[in-house]
């Protein structure tokens, strides 16, 4: 029975959560660019940005100011509605999928339990996939509406790559779903609490899905890197191949939006990898109540940071795939591997749960 004040309070709390999450995401994206430039620079034996602020920490702010103040060049004869829609769509969808990601346990204030998640959908995982599927449009439409050869080719190639690897992404997750039994992200994390027990003996391995789904994790992470158009799968936006790919004809703030949406997608996919395979926010928890509430969030962010660092490390180290190798890899290797993983997991789950 919801009285008005109850609904109003729920709405207020949700709005506050949304504001906090959006603010943290924007800051995270900005400083992810800093981290990327620094890490790639040190891999290449040079300093990254170091002039603006101590060790270049104000560089993202300078970049943001640059993007806002730059001249906004729009080519002739672009399809205006679609040209303006594409970057906004990219950024909106990139932020939409954060709405179901759980960052930590819940805490209680004045008798109300507030969880570190904007909303916990029954089909939360499918919601993230739905938003990822819609993200293909921003790339394809950006390429087409620019009325230019290289963006069109880059946009079509990039969107074809994204839809191909989305299949493997979905399949890789089915093994995890079979073990967790629920599509709700909070439920999947909660099914990974505790430790693995073999024949009643407590091994001190955490009950994370990575230990029973290694193939699933490899397929998921490879497909995720390809789906976010990152090295080694970033041919559609490599400079030497296609100028800038689908975002060639975009300048200043619209280009910044594409840029931000790429990093936001990276963060989302890494969040999902932590939740699905590495136990989400589970980690050693001790101390007073405030520490007990904040430590899970800290463990989640630590695992997330490891994934993001790995992404950046790959960018600094690996060469890129050629487009036909990329597509062949996705369809002829990763998809069958994902299917085999599903088959093997289902056999094992059926065998274990049979009386």
């Amino acid at each position: 029975m919801a009285t008005f004040s109850d609904t109003g309070l729920l709405l207020l709390i949700t709005l506050i959560k949304i504001a906090v999450v959006v603010f943290v995401m924007l800051t995270a994206i900005a400083y992810l660019t800093w981290l990327e430039r620094k890490v790639v620079a040190h891999i290449q034996s040079r300093w990254g940005p170091y002039l603006v602020g101590y060790s270049g920490l104000l560089q993202p702010l300078a970049d943001g100011a640059k993007f806002i103040l730059k001249e906004d060049i729009v080519p002739l004869e672009v399809d205006t509605i679609v040209y303006w829609l594409a970057p906004f769509l990219a950024l909106t969808l990139a932020f939409l999928s954060i709405a179901v990601i759980p960052f930590g346990e819940s805490f209680t204030i004045h008798g109300r339990t507030i969880s570190f998640q904007i909303t916990d959908l029954n089909v939360g995982l499918l919601f993230v996939f739905a938003v990822t599927s819609l993200g293909v449009y921003s790339v394809a439409l950006a390429g087409w509406s620019s009325n230019s050869k290289y963006p069109l080719l880059g946009g079509l190639r990039s969107s074809a790559q994204m839809i191909s690897y989305e299949l493997s992404l979905g399949l890789a997750v089915v093994g995890v779903l079979m073990m967790a039994g629920t599509l709700s992200l909070r439920g999947i994390v909660e099914s990974q609490s505790g430790f693995w027990h073999i024949a009643g003996v407590n091994t001190f391995l955490p009950h994370w899905n990575i230990f029973v789904q290694p193939v699933g994790f490899l397929v998921y992470f490879t497909a995720a890197v390809a789906d976010t158009n990152r090295v080694p799968f970033d041919l559609p936006e490599g400079e030497s191949e296609l100028v800038g790919g689908y975002h060639t004809e975009y300048s200043s703030m619209k280009f910044a939006m594409f840029f931000m949406s790429e990093y936001a997608n990276m963060i989302t996919v890494s969040c999902l990898a932590t939740i699905l395979f590495f136990g989400g926010w589970h980690g050693p928890v001790f101390g007073p109540y405030v520490l007990r509430v904040l430590l899970p969030v800290f463990w989640f962010c630590l695992k997330l940071f490891c994934f993001l660092f790995f992404y950046i490390w790959m960018r600094g180290t690996l060469p890129r795939f050629r487009y036909d190798q990329l597509m062949a890899f996705g369809w002829k290797f990763l998809l069958p591997l994902g299917l085999l993983n599903v088959l093997a997991t289902s056999f094992v789950v059926a065998w274990i749960s049979s009386p």
Binding site: V82, D120, F129, A130, S133, L134, A140
Partner: protein
């Protein structure tokens, strides 16, 4: 805590229903096929929200993933590939244009009246909400409807083969 559809979400049905109708009119009225395709995506997504409000959470997400996220991508690709530009105006008779819209409106009103008579607003109360999550749909799919399921998988295989053969350049 799963999503609960309470009574205070009913106005959303009308909002998204109106959005779906406006977007469908836009599909029919736009000159460029790309704009029609984008309007159709809006129709599909608003219908997905309506399905969610009607308690079909799994079908809603499947609609977005499969219909709006894969089928419409196919449409958009083909439109871009074939470089479909503006449509040339037709050379049909003027009388058809003046008679067409009123006749369609009359037909629509007639069917709406038939529905109103058949299902008066006060008399239909919904049955108790059934759990329509993936587990329930899966149970039904693999027990009662396993034959249509297998047949659709063969259908998809045939469609893949047909599409590849039809769209190839050389034989």
């Amino acid at each position: 805590m799963p999503v609960r559809i309470g009574t205070n979400l009913v106005p959303l049905f009308y909002i998204f229903g109106a959005l779906a109708v406006v977007a469908a009119l836009s599909v029919v009225a736009q000159r460029m096929p790309v704009h029609s395709a984008l309007s159709l995506i809006v129709v599909l997504c608003s219908l997905a929200v309506v399905y969610l409000l009607l308690g079909a959470e799994f079908i809603a997400v499947i609609q977005v993933i499969v219909y709006a996220g894969a089928i419409m991508v196919l449409f958009v690709f083909v439109i871009m590939l074939l470089n479909a530009g503006r449509e040339t105006p037709s050379h049909r008779s003027r009388m058809a244009r003046w008679l067409g819209a009123p006749l369609v409106a009359a037909f629509l009103l007639e069917v709406l009246l038939a529905i109103w008579k058949q299902f008066p607003a006060g008399a239909s109360h919904a049955a108790a909400a059934v759990d329509a999550g993936p587990a329930a749909i899966g149970h039904l799919l693999f027990r009662n409807y396993v034959l249509p399921f297998e047949v659709t998988s063969i259908l998809i295989l045939v469609a893949i083969l047909g599409a590849v053969v039809l769209a190839k350049k050389e034989f």
